[in-house]
């Protein structure tokens, strides 16, 4: 599996606080790679650095060979990021919001139409796309944002708690969509507190605590290594 994202020796300092202490991992093409760890472990910081929101203090991050530090704009052309607490412009109609976001990735009307069609399929919001985002429920906004994140089929999608705020049925749908897109070749870097979700979605998992990756591997390999029945137990054992 060809490597799409490479993170090597990533460090991040917030003043005196060392949030990441040399984090390294790789994400292959069409692979779903998950970061799990307790609150304050450095998951969101890692995701934000890869999403180009935070600048790394040290280390190297490359996507398809492009360096995050030297070519941030080219880097952004191949990623999409869905933060845990994300919103859309409340004054815009949902379809206008999607058009607006698509406009950053293509000037070609045919391609834009293709993006919008894909987003509509992912969101499943139907005629409600004609309504303003301000009238949407939290779950609808989340589905709209997931549609936005996946519509351009980026090389890497960064998802922070992708099913946050969604009910059981919608969460299942979203997980299926993520799986489907990964099968189509999109690489996914995700973080979630829901271990069932991680186990269902991820090809590989990294356990992170205090800015350090403690262990990584496929869910099955990790369970075997820690003699655990599920990832929750793996998680607890690794932290000990």
């Amino acid at each position: 599996m060809a490597s799409v994202l490479s993170v090597q020796g990533l460090t991040k300092l917030y003043g005196q606080l060392e949030a990441l202490k040399g984090v390294s991992f790789e994400v292959g093409e069409g692979e779903i790679f998950a970061l799990i760890g307790p609150n304050g472990a450095g998951k969101t910081t890692t995701l934000r650095v890869v999403a180009t929101l935070l600048s790394p203090s040290g280390g190297k991050v490359t996507l398809l060979g492009r360096d995050l530090k030297t070519e941030p704009e080219k880097f952004r052309e191949n990623i999409s990021y869905l933060p845990e607490e994300a919103g859309a412009y409340r004054n815009l109609k949902a379809e206008d919001y999607l058009k607006f976001m698509a406009g950053f990735y293509s000037d070609d009307p045919v391609r834009t139409a293709e993006y919008l069609k894909r987003a509509e399929e992912i969101c499943g919001l139907g005629l409600r796309l004609k309504d303003k985002v301000g009238t949407y429920s939290k779950g609808m906004v989340r589905k709209l944002l997931l549609g936005r994140a996946l519509m351009t089929k980026p090389a890497l999608t960064i998802l922070d708690e992708p099913t946050s705020g969604l009910d059981v049925i919608n969460s299942l749908e979203v997980r299926e969509i993520i799986k489907r897109f990964a099968r189509e070749g999109i690489s996914v870097l995700l973080s979630s507190h829901n271990m069932l979700e991680i186990e269902f979605l991820s090809d590989r998992v990294a356990l992170i605590d205090k800015g350090v990756i403690l262990d990584s591997g496929t869910p099955a390999a990790l369970k075997q290594k820690y003699k655990a029945e599920n990832l929750e137990t793996v998680f607890r054992s690794a932290l000990r």
């Binding site: 949030a19 934000r48 952004r76 990021y81 815009l92």
Partner: protein
């Protein structure tokens, strides 16, 4: 470039809401209504004034005195009363703002050069500028009466002599000079007229700066509050383009709103200043002195205003980063308001040239001051100061834009917050 235009369109679309359009139309309507009312009120105030008169003397002198008032823009109205107290009650219930009571024996006392005092009563019925002006006509009435009586007296005593020359043996012709331009007129009247004509420039400038700044700060605060900023920062467009699009959109919408306000305000003010200026016959003098705004002057002034707006927007952009939500954005506008108020009041109530050195440095260090001073400098033909001001504002703007660009290209756009406690970092 396409991405920039794409973003700019969205920013403008977000700012031009139905609420904004309704507010602008409503404001224009209010200004139009106020302007129409004020215009008719001013016309009344500077037109003929009714004066209540109780003539207890009934002499030839008192009669001709009352008659003389009609010649100097007053309409004397006789009050049928037996005493000044009764006359007061009648006038109090009426509409006149002034009552004159000419005492019995007034004519004889004047002839004996020991004039009995004429009682004057001014009724304050309102504290509005126009209302007070109506009550102030007393001074003019007394002057007119004194003139009439003394002229009559001098003509009787010194037949053939010109009473005017006797009373005012020293006469002056007043000239006002501005650089190489000169015109005949009273300095106080000209200065008063010019300041009334230009008083709206700083007000409008202040309004535009505050309005546009508020829009930029709110735009960033709303991005943060609605959690859209993080997503926007990860799309493939340069951070400088994001900063510029937000500033340009706010600047354009701010300017458009200001034009609406300016047109409305201009209509409202023309009701006051236009009528007074024409009545005082000052328009020609003002033109002769080059104190009316020429086309090139307007261009220079507009450029200066535009530079001030750009500085305000860049400053607001940086302040907006500190905002956590829409509510905190309202507080963060305060530094901009202060920086606008200082030059506004300093230029309104003092002469910048005679200020103490620290005050002068403070004034000139604030970029907006140069726009406030631009009007005065234009009239005075001080183009060097105008050019210096514009260069200073350009440099100030450039520094702020670089700073804003750096902030937006760094972590600070997400981590910089105005907090009075411990910093919270999401790991």
């Amino acid at each position: 470039m396409n991405k920039f235009i794409h973003l700019l369109k969205k920013e403008i679309k977000e700012l031009v809401t139905k609420q904004l359009v309704v507010t602008l139309v409503f404001t224009m309507g209010i200004f139009y209504m106020m302007g129409t009312i004020t215009k008719s009120e001013v016309k009344k105030a500077i037109g003929k004034q009714d004066i209540a008169v109780l003539d207890q003397d009934g002499s030839e002198l008192s009669k001709s005195l009352v008659g003389s008032l009609a010649m100097v823009n007053y309409v004397p109205k006789a009050v049928a009363a037996s005493s000044s107290r009764e006359a007061l009650d009648i006038v109090r219930a009426g509409k006149e703002n002034v009552l004159l009571v000419i005492p019995g024996g007034f004519g004889a006392s004047v002839a004996a050069l020991a004039p009995k005092p004429i009682e004057t009563y001014a009724f304050i019925r309102t504290f509005s500028v126009i209302g007070i002006r109506r009550s102030e006509v007393l001074k003019g009435i007394i002057e007119a009466m004194n003139d009439y009586v003394s002229n009559d007296y001098l003509r009787a005593r010194l037949p053939g002599a010109d009473p005017k020359g006797l009373k005012h043996p020293i006469v002056t012709r007043d000239f006002v000079l501005i650089k190489d331009r000169m015109a005949e007129g009273s300095i106080s009247a000209i200065a008063g007229f010019v300041s009334s004509q230009t008083m709206m420039v700083p007000i409008i400038l202040m309004m535009i700066i505050i309005y546009a700044s508020q829009m930029v700060i709110s735009a960033i605060a709303m991005e943060k509050q609605n959690k859209t900023l993080e997503t926007l920062l990860t799309v493939p467009i340069s951070r400088t383009a994001i900063v510029t699009a937000k500033m340009l959109a706010s600047g354009l919408v701010g300017l458009l709103s200001a034009v609406f306000y300016m047109l409305g305000y201009r209509y409202f003010m023309s009701g006051i200043t236009g009528s007074i200026g024409a009545a005082a016959g000052l328009n020609a003098v003002v033109k002769q002195l080059g104190l009316s705004m020429s086309g090139s002057g307007l261009v220079v002034l507009s450029l200066s205003l535009f530079m001030a707006i750009l500085c305000a927007l860049a400053l607001a952009m940086i302040l907006g980063v500190l905002a956590e939500d829409f509510r905190s954005a309202q507080t963060l506008i305060m530094p901009v308001i202060l920086l606008v108020m200082i030059p506004y009041f300093l230029t309104l109530f003092s002469d910048p040239k005679t200020l103490s050195l620290p005050a002068k440095i403070l004034l000139l260090a604030i970029p907006f001051s140069h726009s406030f001073l631009a009007v005065q400098n234009l009239f005075l033909g001080d183009y060097r100061s105008i050019v210096f001001g514009m260069l200073y504002m350009t440099a100030f703007f450039a520094v702020l834009v670089v700073l804003a660009g750096r902030i937006f290209s760094s972590d600070k756009v997400l981590t910089m917050k105005l907090r009075w406690g411990k910093k919270k970092v999401v790991l």
